[in-house]
Symmetry: C2
Subunit: 468 residues, 2 copies
């Protein structure tokens, strides 16, 4: 059954929520009185459609339906989740909560607020138990983090619902143990922002130099381990206690110098805005967004390949997208979008990635015949000994492609597949691959017979594919 | 001529410096009175040898010679750069500076200090003009950022020397405009550290939850754009000024609540160390280091493929590693280390990456015959139409491999190469690839004759390779 989410308040954040739900197959009902809302959400959605499918090695489900509504009452009808992302004014949020709860009593309501605690949002509500903070990070359609903040009045069952639902659309639901101003991440962002304003104001560094200090140093470190695990490693063999003993007092020493708050004057705004123009003004915001999204996808895919950090989340989530293969002739072994990191100097998919696509297709066929991850962990696998790839048509990042596989030989140690790669949209043939594999023992690294249950399925598939 | 760097003070930071210089072909002379110094530097060097060569698509130069010395005087003899990484005690640093300058007058001295300003280091020095701060980030052999901080007494020519030299070994030299406590990046780290201590102390989140809040959210954002460019994008089409007007006051609001400093008690140390053990205690520090390094390599390689952020620096630096091909039969078209992101579920290099390796080899041959980046930018290129790869032996991440290429057909639009991939260490044949390419116009996407200067070089190479 298609699930329905209601988005109250569009803009970059609401649009990001809408895109995340839609691309994961949910229907989305939007209320935003801004006459520009449709256009704004459309732009976020265009970015999301270009980006999110590239994260995964499997196709996303069919997109849900997006509808716009002229009242909150209408927008929340039939919704199993309401995401509130209106302006950060408490009385407005109270009014919105009241309307939602009048129209759809019992629906869980997540607020995107960074400025209010859930207990503040709940003031005067008909049913405070259904209200909690679910605070996302931009771009909402790509970044996994959602801070889930209940108040003591929030029903724990609603928190569980939120957790399951957010996880199902690829988020990481971080349950914040106690409500607190600015939740968790924004407290760090505040602290860093304040320091950054000082550094620019005092002429120590420009905005670009500060960005470089972050992205060439601790930024890339934090992207994979965060703060504490990074310091644990820095402490060396003696671990975290040693790190704190060694660096704790040294770290304490400059603190008192960093406590002042710079005054937020027009001059400071101009100084920073001008430097930012110098740094990035040659790119439009759309170009910057695409650059950011491409970087995020490439890095998250790299982490996925390593099975670490955000990549581990994506790896887990994409298992929910993995289809069951069907024993047709030929069989659809892979459907996926060409990701941005598969392109080369000619602007199209690099020839090596054709090989990878066919290799991935073969892995799906292997899994189908029982030579899956467990089988490999048990010490058996198939190794490819020869492939011939014919390149027929070009393909580019963002295009959806299918691999159709025929098992041409499946007897004893031998497994031979003929793969045809076609464009999903029109079925045009883009490449073929004749792939010859042999079954091996991962212990001896020599060929051997497959285990009986695999051999039987391989032979059955070969027999099916041999039929006239 | 081999260059010589002197490392005063080993440990994780000094060892990282030593590794960075050695792997970039410098001789390194170490002084550290710690009897464990040799072992400690050896461990950092082992990590660096496993990691740094994977960043690049070309081989690093031959490693320099590492020697250990029993005095500063001996260690700095003949050095063109001295890197000081001794303990953060000012009187010790003054003593070390004096000894260095007595033994090797005029040598530039960079200090790894995070706690002192260059003007403090220069107090009482024989020649203050040669002293500056060059503050690195762990792991020094992988992270590009060096904060270069001169005082007014530092000779600007020495700063230029430092900049050139650091760039030549793959660093990004960030010149800090004025000296300041904690330089730039550590001011952010202090601010975040303080907030993190509060969050743990107050029971808002555990160390692991805080790490997740960073690495699933803003950490991965900062790794590619830093702070200001990220906010510029968040400001939308109206840019940075709009962002500041919109969020500036809101950001100011919680500041005053974040100013207190948590007391650094034993209880706080225990709380954090225990949580860190729960989070990461199942992995040894060596395992965490390898995981960190693999993540960093995979992410930086992903950024390199995008040509952005740290990846752009690496891309630029690796051009200095790119060798000139020599017209031998066969010709050595590629020598490189198999990177960590090229392995698959079987633990060896994925079959698709053989294709990429051969494709990269063909690009080098193309560049050799004049079909280089400029030629491609001018609208011409070669597209591969068919490849046959034979997989003969397995290879794993970290192994150095060579591709030897013979041009078997080179006439008109046709270019056919036979590549042999061999292990560098013993020349064992690991795979072959028969690759057939056609020359194309990138405008019409159809085949066409190559430009004369390319055709001539292709034919000459084919003729050389056809000789008995």
């Amino acid at each position: 059954m298609t699930k329905t989410a209601s988005i109250i308040g569009g803009g970059v954040i609401g649009g990001g929520w809408a895109a995340r739900f839609l691309l994961n197959g949910w229907d989305v009902r939007v209320f935003d009185p801004d006459p520009e809302a449709k256009r704004k959400i459309g732009e976020v959605l265009a970015n999301a459609r270009a980006a999110l499918p590239m994260l995964y090695d499997y196709a996303l489900p069919a997109e849900g339906a997006l509808t716009f509504h002229s009242s909150i009452t209408e927008a929340v009808t039939g919704a199993s989740w309401v995401q509130e992302s209106v302006s950060e004014r408490l009385e407005l949020k109270h009014k919105v909560m009241a309307e939602i709860q009048a129209a759809n009593p019992g629906v869980p309501i997540g607020s995107s607020t960074s400025g209010f605690k859930p207990s503040e949002l709940q003031q005067g509500a008909t049913d405070p138990s259904k209200i909690l903070v679910t605070h996302p990070f931009n771009p909402v359609y790509l970044l996994p983090l959602i801070e889930v903040v209940p108040s003591p009045a929030t029903d724990p069952a609603v928190v569980d619902v939120a957790d399951d639902l957010l996880t199902s659309v690829g988020f990481y639901a971080l349950r914040v143990r106690k409500e607190i101003d600015a939740h968790i991440a924004d407290r760090f962002l505040e602290a860093v922002w304040r320091e950054a304003l000082w550094l620019v104001k005092d002429g120590i560094a420009t905005t670009e130099e500060i960005d470089n200090a972050i992205r060439y140093g601790f930024g890339i470190r934090w992207a994979q381990m965060g703060l504490f695990e990074t310091y644990r490693v820095a402490g060396g063999e003696a671990g975290m206690r040693h790190f704190m003993e060694q660096f704790g007092p040294a770290l304490k020493w400059p603190w008192t110098k960093l406590m002042d708050v710079p005054e937020f004057t027009d001059e400071l705004v101009d100084l920073i805005a001008d430097q930012s123009d110098d740094q990035s003004g040659h790119l439009t915001i759309r170009e910057l967004e695409r650059k950011r999204d491409n970087n995020l996808i490439a890095m998250m895919r790299a982490l996925k390949q390593q099975g670490n950090a955000a990549g581990q989340l994506i790896k887990t989530h994409q298992q929910t997208l993995r289809p069951e293969l069907e024993a047709t002739k030929p069989m659809l072994s892979t459907r996926r979008v060409v990701p941005i990191d598969w392109t080369d100097v000619n602007g199209h998919m690099n020839e090596g990635r054709y090989g990878q696509l066919f290799s991935d297709a073969a892995e799906e066929v292997m899994a189908y015949v029982g030579a899956d991850d467990d089988y490999i962990a048990g010490g058996n696998s198939y190794f490819t000994v020869e492939t011939t790839v014919k390149y027929i048509a070009e393909t580019h990042a963002g295009e959806s492609v299918d691999v159709w596989t025929t098992v041409t030989v499946g007897e004893g140690k031998k497994l031979r597949c003929f793969h045809e790669m076609k464009r999903t949209s029109d079925g045009e043939l883009m490449a073929t691959c004749d792939q010859f594999m042999l079954h091996v023992s991962l212990e001896s690294r020599r060929t051997c017979e497959p285990l009986p249950h695999v051999r039987e399925k391989v032979e059955a598939l070969a027999a099916l594919h041999a039929e006239e």
